[in-house]
């Protein structure tokens, strides 16, 4: 098993914290501009697309998907 990759998924809407479990293992961060970022480790492409599917199923608007380099994570992750 390879190491998981960190992804950042940006959506337009503001999601309530109660969705945290729905998008587990990604965490929910509210952006200043009113949108939401989902951030966290996903094992493979299948998991990534599964997550994107959940976004689609809620009729949320997908803005961006990025792969995060580890150095950046160390800087930006709010845990």
């Amino acid at each position: 098993m390879g190491t998981p990759t960190i992804y950042r998924i940006r959506i337009k809407e503001q999601l309530a914290a109660l969705w945290a479990e729905w998008f587990d293992p990604l965490i929910i961060q509210h952006e200043a501009n009113g949108g939401t970022t989902l951030l966290g480790p996903l094992r493979d492409q299948a998991e990534l697309f599964g997550m994107l599917s959940k976004v689609n199923n809620l009729n949320l608007t997908l803005i961006a998907v990025e792969k995060i380099e580890t150095s950046e994570v160390a800087k930006g992750h709010p845990s």
């Binding site: 809407e13 503001q14 109660l18 729905w22 689609n56 199923n57 809620l58 009729n59």
Partner: protein
């Protein structure tokens, strides 16, 4: 009568009278009905399903609906439902395709779908086919199949697909050709006018236009959002305040509104919604089972209330018995439930599972048990049913169930292991079953009570499976295993009996217990039918049919094959197919036998192709051998040899004993028939003469071929041939087909030697067998030299059929060394034919007759024969009397019939 759960998939959802008519969208849809595909692609909650339903209600055109869900991700199942949906308008549709579905894994898309497309092309009226929620489909095979269908879609059919995402179909290509019509999110958004109409429907007349605009902007015209807003406002005292807060907030629309809407409902309703949110489809009794009395009024009343209140619930039938939630709404509810009380979800699934089990709806019961995490219950539900599911051909179901149970658990359950073995045995080509069987055996061996009847029955089944595998592979071990299995099973175990005869029947025929075998077959068939074992029943019938064929009962064989085909076609799953290739080849043999060459050819072409796909080696070989003779009979020598070459090529793969000799013997006979003397002779030389005692070691067909070759060599070869034939006939008392060939060759042998009486006797014996059993070509194929001899026989319909079966192609090849002998001996036999009149004609009379047939007058005859006209007249009277006719013309006819000249 409420619909079954399955039927709800085909039912066009019937929302209550249209909330908001959308004429501009109906017009858009109508405008492009001439395209192949209308794609409605938009996110959840955009109103796709509602739009299409409302649109269809406006239409004069017939429509067929298929609601898809995640379980439909199997090509076989998808197509089965697709055909099921289409059959509601055209019941005969898909008859050819359904049975092919079992071959879905090995067949090409072309093979699977062309029959369906042909059926669709015969649709008398235009039809719309709707595939709802296509985004749940992920299987590449299904996308491929649908692309294929779209490519060749007949003009009467218009496809509508609703999906949350663009499906992976060749949309760009369709778009480029003007064959695609699209309705997208922007189209579906409510305009301000439509928002006004919606709110009017909710009687929210106090909402100002400005507020409506704000709401429209905030939700971006998203229908679910607007509907939730309307629902909230229904009970909200301060409309303007609500709109203000709502518009001012950034919160995800759904979050905001769902909470509002839910909180406004009574506790009963809230509980109801959350509890039932786990259900894909629900009805009153099912909901009640989940609620367990936690409501003050009947569940079905609540469902109808929800529908009236526009709370995102959709009726699935006209009686308003079955419902489902809007997927998005259900998703939200489930999310809340998970938040509030996660442990409850498992329990609810458990209750649902039990309810479905009580209703006998096994698939749903298993699914809910799985979601409840109750693996023990899954096993409990699945174990008693899985074997019969397999035997009825529901492979996808059995496979799915086995996939649910973790492998470590399967390893502990003999019934599941045995089920795995069955599935592997029915694979194409069949897989390894020993590992699973040994494991099962091991577990059963440790049972506390080894004499327990269930344990014994399972052990018997394991042995029977091994026997079946050995039988299919043609291993002699099959016999032993079969007997062992029967011993373990006992006389009451019909299931094992039916498998055993399947095992034994794949095997060679050289056994003596004919009556018991006959009885075993009968028992096996009734057992298999009684236990619903479609596959076994068909297989046993086929082998029984071949048994009849060999014993000279062609009519019986035909009857069995027809029964086989009819029985399997009558099964709901219509899964006949380990057998249909052999049924077709079997039928082809019978048709060939009756000289119905065109039908035989057609059946063979299809049967061989099917057998090739299933890699059913022995059926392929049988098929090619028969095809070779069909071609030969139709005068196509090259094709005949080509077919035989195909059979020969497969011999190396055949482990069944006797196969190489069988094919070689046929090749030798074909060489003889085509005049390839050298080759035939060379082959004969490779067949070293065997002592009497070793006779049984050579394949009987090899012996017959040898005899035929010796005879063809001329009078010198005949003694050897006769010796061989005599030996063969000692062992052939049961085999009508073999006896016929022996006698026929004896005819040829005796006529070579000029022994007319023996030849005629043998000929009569031959024809006697042929007539009672119906063999035709078997006789004809023994050699064209039989033709002149057959004309000596009394006229019967059978004889005429035989004569008709000889064609101009059956001219005896000129350079056959023995031709002269045969023809000259035909003269001898003509005399023999003359003997068949009660009083034979004298030589003089024959001379007169010859001239009469040549149309000579009495005067001319008298001159020719140098006798008086009076004498001629006397002769004529005598001739007519002996022939039993009253005039010259009849005499001429009779002469021809009897072959007197």
């Amino acid at each position: 009568m409420p619909l079954t759960l399955l039927q709800t998939k085909f039912h066009i959802p019937t929302p209550l009278p249209t909330l908001v008519p959308r004429p501009r969208l109906y017009a858009k849809l109508n405008a492009r009905l001439n395209a192949k595909l209308t794609l409605v692609a938009a996110p959840a909650g955009s109103g796709k399903t509602t739009l299409i339903c409302d649109w269809l209600r406006q239409m004069a055109r017939s429509a067929v609906w298929l609601s898809l869900d995640a379980g439909d991700n199997d090509l076989q199942r998808f197509l089965r439902y697709l055909i099921g949906a289409l059959q509601s308008v055209q019941p005969a549709l898909g008859q050819e395709t359904l049975p092919l579905l079992q071959l879905a894994q090995s067949a090409s898309v072309d093979e699977l779908l062309t029959p369906l497309l042909n059926d669709l092309a015969t649709l008398p009226e235009k039809l719309i086919l709707v595939l709802d929620d296509y985004h749940v489909i992920e299987a590449a095979a299904i996308h491929q199949a649908l692309s294929f269908l779209l490519d060749r879609l007949p003009p009467q059919l218009h496809l509508v697909i609703t999906s949350r995402v663009n499906p992976p179909l060749p949309l760009a290509r369709l778009r480029g050709r003007g064959e695609l019509s699209e309705v997208r999110a922007t189209d579906l958004r409510f305009t301000s006018e439509e928002t006004v109409a919606l709110f009017q429907h909710f009687s929210l007349l106090t909402v100002s236009p400005a507020d409506l605009t704000l709401l429209n902007e905030r939700t971006e015209g998203w229908i679910v959002g607007l509907q939730l807003a309307a629902l909230s406002l229904e009970h909200h005292p301060n409309v303007a305040g609500f709109v203000q807060n709502f518009s001012g907030s950034n919160r995800f629309v759904l979050d905001y509104l769902i909470e509002e809407v839910l909180e406004q409902r009574s506790t009963t309703i809230q509980t109801f919604l959350l509890t039932t949110s786990i259900l894909e489809r629900m009805c009153g009794p099912l909901c009640a089972a989940l609620l367990e009395g936690a409501s003050d009024r009947p569940a079905h009343t609540i469902l109808q209330e929800l529908e009236q209140a526009n709370l995102f619930i959709i009726a699935l039938d006209d009686e308003r018995y079955w419902y489902r939630y809007h997927h998005l709404f259900a998703g939200m509810l489930q999310q809340r439930l998970r938040q509030a009380d996660p442990a409850r979800i498992g329990k609810l699934h458990g209750r649902a599972s039990r309810w479905f089990e009580e209703q006998g709806l096994l698939e749903e019961a298993v699914e809910h048990a799985q979601r409840a995490g109750e693996l023990g219950r899954v096993i409990q539900l699945v174990e008693p049913e899985i074997r019969s599911s397999i035997m009825r051909g529901y492979f996808d179901r059995a496979t799915r169930w086995l996939a649910i149970v973790p492998p470590t658990l399967i390893e502990e359950r003999p019934r599941l292991l045995i089920a795995q073995a069955w599935l592997r045995l029915f694979e194409i080509p069949f897989g390894d079953i020993e590992a699973a069987l040994s494991q099962a055996e091991g577990i059963l061996g440790k049972a506390t009570d080894p004499q327990d009847s269930d344990t014994l029955a399972l052990l018997a089944e394991i042995t029977a499976l091994r026997a079946a595998e050995a039988g299919i592979s043609g291993k002699p071990l099959a016999l032993q295993l079969a007997q062992e299995a029967l011993r373990l099973a006992g006389p009451e175990n019909l299931f094992v009996q039916s498998i055993i005869s399947y095992a034994l029947a794949s095997f060679d025929w050289e056994r003596k217990q004919w009556t018991t075998l006959h009885q075993t077959f009968q028992r096996a068939i009734s057992a298999a039918q009684a236990t619903g074992n479609v596959i076994i029943a068909a297989s046993v019938r086929y082998n029984f049919a071949m048994f009849h064929w060999q014993r000279g009962d062609l009519a019986g064989a035909d009857r069995l094959l027809t029964e086989s085909e009819a029985f399997t076609k009558s099964q709901p799953n219509r899964w006949p197919w380990p057998i249909v290739d052999s049924v077709w080849v079997g039928r082809a043999r019978l048709c060939y036998e009756r000289n119905d060459l065109d039908t035989a050819r057609r059946l063979l072409q299809e049967g061989i192709e099917l057998a090739q796909r299933r890699r059913n080696l022995y059926v392929i070989i049988d098929g090619y051998l028969t095809l070779a003779w069909v071609h030969q009979a139709q005068g196509e020598r090259g094709l005949a040899q080509a077919a035989l070459d195909q059979a020969s090529a497969l011999v190396s793969k055949a482990t069944r004993p006797g196969t190489p000799q069988l094919v070689a013997a046929h090749q030798a006979r074909l060489w003889l028939a085509q005049g390839e003397w050298e080759r035939a002779r060379q082959w004969a030389q490779t067949q070293t003469p065997l002592a009497n005692a070793e006779l049984g070691k050579r394949h009987p067909l090899s012996d017959l071929a040898l005899a035929a070759i010796y005879i063809a060599q001329g009078p010198d070869g005949v003694p050897q041939a006769l010796a061989l034939l005599n030996q063969l006939s000692e062992n052939a008392s049961e085999w009508a087909s073999r006896r016929l060939q022996i006698y026929a060759l004896q005819v040829l042998a005796y006529s070579q030697l000029g022994q007319a009486t023996e030849a005629l006797r043998a000929l009569k014996d031959t024809v006697a067998i042929g007539e009672t059993s119906g063999y035709l070509r078997l006789l004809v194929d023994q050699g064209p030299a039989l033709l002149p001899l057959l004309t000596q026989l009394p006229v019967t319909p059978y004889r005429d059929q035989l004569l008709a079966a000889f064609t101009p192609n059956d001219k005896v090849p000129i350079d056959e060394p023995s031709t002269k002998h045969v023809i000259s001996n035909a003269a001898t036999l003509k005399k023999a034919g003359n003997q068949s009149l009660i009083e034979p004609l004298s030589e003089r009379e024959l001379e007169v007759l010859r001239l009469v047939v040549g149309d000579a007058s009495n005067q001319e005859i008298a001159e020719r024969l140098v006798i008086t006209v009076g004498t001629v007249k006397n002769h004529m009277t005598s001739i007519l009397g002996k022939l039993g006719v009253s005039n010259r013309r009849a005499a001429t006819r009779k002469t021809a019939e009897l072959g007197l000249l």
